[in-house]
Amino acid sequence: MSEANDKVNVQIDGEWHQFPKGTRMIEACRLAGKEIPHYCYHPKLSSPGNCRMCLVEMGMPPRPRPGEDPPKPDKDGHLPIQWIPRPAISCANTIAEGMGIRTDSQLTNECRHGVMEFLLINHPLDCPICDQAGECRLQEFSVEFGTGGSRFREKKVKKPKNVDIGPRIRLDDERCIMCSRCIRFCQEVADDDVLGFTDRGSHTVLGVHPGKELSNNYGLNTVDICPVGALTSNDFRFQMRVWFLKETNSICTSCGRGCNIIAGAREDKLYRLTPRDNNEVNSSWMCDYGRLNFHFLTSEARLTDPMILEHRAHRIARWSEAVGRAAEKLKEFDASKIAIIASGRMTNEELFMARRLGETLGIEKIAIVPRSGEADDYLVSADKNPNTRGARLILGKKVDKQLKEIAAGVKKGTITALIALDENLLKCGFEEDTLKKLDLLISSHILANPTASLSHVVFPSTATVAEKRGTMINRTGRLQRLNQAIDPPGQAMDLWEILRDLAQALGGSNGVYLLEDVFKLMAGTIKEFEGLSLGKIGDQGLPLLKPKESIPLLERERERIEKGIIVG
């Protein structure tokens, strides 16, 4: 019985459904397959009910007046519905027992057409030069609920345009429909109450408070949730029409949080990263740092070809030649003299292939370079490596402590050959002079750096952002997938491929051709991965290891969900 009591019977467009008590009308409709158009409502923010786009016709069982007979239920036990002539907002109201909702009635449609017309009369209709075009809620709903022409003959209200409200965001007040999502985001999520409305009525303008700017590290989320083109990103505006973007689901690799993202790319150029919903990781948000941390992909320092050091100068080599040279040189060393510096920025598959290379050669010293910085009270983790937990799982727990031993070994001369994977050794405890003493330095890099110039063989590798596939484990132990959005430049390759080729050159064919093969091997070797495949992980990831920290932003969201302030 108790289970039945937690459910509420609601009639939506003539059909009865059951939903949990406390469900918002708009969410109940969505679950019933009826999308309600809306602007101000966002499930992660409070609901002010100001846009009025989600108005629906609503009804309840009639309340008998004293002396009247109570209404009789029909054969299925449902009471008749008395429809209320005044429409109700579906975003802030919760469902009630016996409630009826009409999402397609004359009243509902009149409301939507009316609101749509109001929103458009003072809107500049400058879609051809607006960055939001193509992903604009105003465009989308005006297709459904707008009219082709306009009855509005008056002069439009003039408002500030191209307003600089912070280092990364620009505001066009004429496009703003005053939904207040950005204001609420800054107040409720980012704790940075800098946005607000001034003036009133049709002259209301959004702006930053005097002396303030929208510069917090989460500010660009306001651009995402702005349903129109009022807030645009300085970084992305005018770069690419959104309908040309190919969208790829992936994860951010700027810290150990692993925020879920959508990479927007066209013709092997990445244009933007936007957060993707994942209520176990990043809710609907991401930090500005992570979001903009991809411009190095097109840096002039990008390595595009394998190189071999000859006569104190690097020359471009073919892959086979570079791999051959590296393998040939490695064979000259006793395994005890070789060490591998891997990276916490490598995928699980790449780390696993580094481990396999180590096993092939009998190398025992494998380290990663720890990176720590400041965490914040929202999403940013203190661990700046995106896959420290993967590295520890695959390479062993002591992997981040071994770095010092290796550095000391190089200095002492007990280690004479180093394989450095995507790490600039000069930034992690090695000195140029000691590195010069090495008999062999093989390294892979995304960008040219001093370690590359000291290396005997250099491989160009791909960036984790958008250029490769694979998996990582974030700070909270969640196994998540990276997907490739663009092809890497030149002959750059994923590290698992570089390591596979090197292992093959050293020990013969190992049956690894695809990333799936690596994962299969890994799943057969490491018990945590047992039974898994890339497909099984899915776009939302899987909990794999015990969480080692909690996510402050999610905890606060949970509190707000419990209080009924947000839907979540």
Binding site: S47, P48, G49, N50, C51, R52, M53, L55, P85, R86, P87, I89, A92, N93, E110, C111, G114, V115, E117, F118, L119, I121, N122, P124, S150, R151, F152, R153, E154, K155, K156, V157, I177, M178, G196, F197, D199, R200, G201, S202, H203, T204
Partner: protein, 471 residues
């Protein structure tokens, strides 16, 4: 009435014989001043002493029995409103006196505040005692600076006499009242907008549900918001008892009301009458001395500028007993229910009389200008619609509108009505809806078909010119 006659009023300010001065008893009274001594000499704070010996529940019951309906505009029963405070409430309760009197055509509260502030304070203290509020605010509009000063002084006097502060008259009841001045916005008269403003925010009205002030009001605590006149009436309910008060006026429309008459009458002003005891015609012709010489009645806005206009010559169907009868505008008794049955409302008591020298479009444009200026801008229909309506009526008054514009005007109003967060939507839509419906011919006569294709938006004009030059 005998009571009112025993008091002397200033020359030229004497109440009309048909008035019943209860709340306005001391307004324009000879030798009267707003100081506490004057008030005490007249028996002031006697009802407070009486009330403090009563059970608060009984006071609320008495107010319920009195049938007092809110005098701010909505006409909601005051006692019922008090009863909405959740029974298991553990949070502090606040009482707010809404002195934001800003409905055009209404000017009653300012006289109470200016001339008889202690009547209001006494009513408030009793109401706070009844509802369990230990902190109360008087939210007074910015445009009443003098009123705010008078109230501040009156509150100070109350403290000196022990009517405010700790353990009021040894009753163990504590109360502080603060005056809070608004910043000049009509919307602050809407109770939830007022609460937001009092909290220091923009006065954006809150959505109901869930934010009914009696449960989630000021600082999310139970809050009672009552109009100045309503709170004054509480004192008189204590004085005469709820049952006796209910005998004033008519059934369901009890007590007295201060009607503020403005517009085209010989003697505009305020008249306190028993609710429903006089008709519109009596109000205009008897109390207000009739229309200006040679003029005919054109229309009346009966309850503040947002009330729907009533046209002279219109026929209204109302219920009298079990029968339905048809009456003209001058026969309408001025009470809540009849005015509602006539398609308008008693609202704030601001009666605006319009004679045949006025143009309907001019009046409507004047009203629309006010609402376009005062719309808070929070929700879409009112924010965009109020200015649009103003722009259309503006063109109609200039003679630059087409007949289509009248139709557009009307439909804009319908698109606002009932679709907004607060009652401002109706407030700004009703004038247009009623004026256009009732004076359609006059509006159409002001338009011309030569404006059928007029477009005033320069961008659209430019685009149109560009397109035609291409073909």
């Amino acid at each position: 009435m005998s009571k009112a006659n025993a008091i002397n009023y200033k020359k030229g300010k004497e109440p009309h014989a048909r008035e019943y001065r209860l709340v306005f008893k001391n307004v324009d009274r000879k030798g009267w001043d707003p100081g506490i001594d004057c008030y005490l000499q007249d028996g002031g704070y006697r009802e407070l002493k009486k009330a403090l010996l009563m059970d608060p529940v009984d006071i609320t019951e008495d107010v319920k029995k009195s049938g007092l309906r809110g005098r701010g505009g909505a006409g909601f029963p005051t006692g019922v409103k008090w009863g909405f405070i959740p029974p298991n409430n553990t949070k502090p309760v606040y009482l707010i006196c809404n002195a934001d009197e800003s409905e055009p055509g209404t000017f009653k509260d300012r006289y109470i505040i200016h001339q008889d502030p202690h009547q209001l304070l006494e009513g408030m203290i009793i109401s706070c005692f009844a509802t369990g509020a230990n902190l109360a605010y008087i939210y007074i509009r910015e445009e009443f600076p003098e009123g705010a000063r008078i109230l501040e002084k009156a509150i100070e006097e109350c403290h000196q006499k022990g009517f405010l502060g700790k353990n009021i008259l040894k009753s163990k009841f504590d109360l502080e009242i603060f005056v809070h001045r608004g910043a000049g916005a009509y919307i602050c008269g809407e109770e939830t907008g007022l609460i937001e403003s009092l909290e220091g925010k923009r006065p954006y009205p809150r959505i109901k549900p869930p934010y009914f002030p009696a449960a989630l009001g000021l600082y999310m605590c139970p809050t009672i918001v009552n109009n100045v006149e309503s709170l004054c009436n509480v004192k008189h309910i204590i004085a005469m008892g709820g049952d006796a008060f209910a005998k004033l006026g008519t059934a369901r429309n009890t007590g007295t009301r201060v009607l503020c008459v403005s517009g085209d009458v010989v003697n505009p002003g305020y008249f306190e009458v028993e609710v429903g005891h006089i008709t519109m015609g009596e109000l205009i012709h008897d109390l207000c001395g009739g229309l200006k010489p040679g003029r005919k009645l054109k229309a009346v806005i009966p309850g503040g500028s947002s009330a729907k206009v009533l046209r002279a010559g219109e026929k209204f169907k109302i219920k009298k007993g079990d029968q339905e009868i048809e009456i003209g505008i001058e026969d309408i008794p001025m009470d809540f229910d009849t005015l509602m049955a006539c398609g308008s409302m008693a609202g704030s008591g601001g009666v605006i009389v319009i004679d045949d020298s006025r143009k309907a479009s001019w009046i409507l444009n004047n009203i629309n200008e006010f609402y376009a200026h005062e719309s808070c801008g929070q929700c879409t229909p009112c924010r965009e619609g109020s200015l649009w309506m103003k722009k259309i009526t503006d063109r109609i008054t200039r003679g630059e509108a087409s007949p289509d514009d009248v139709e557009t005007l009307e439909s804009v109003a319908f698109n606002i009505d009932g679709k907004t967060i607060c009652a401002f939507g109706e407030a700004c839509a009703w004038p247009t809806e009623s004026f256009v419906a009732k004076f359609r011919e006059e509006f159409l006569a002001d338009t011309s078909e030569k404006y059928d294709d007029a477009i005033l938006n320069p961008e659209t004009e430019l685009a149109a010119a560009h397109l035609s030059s291409e073909t």
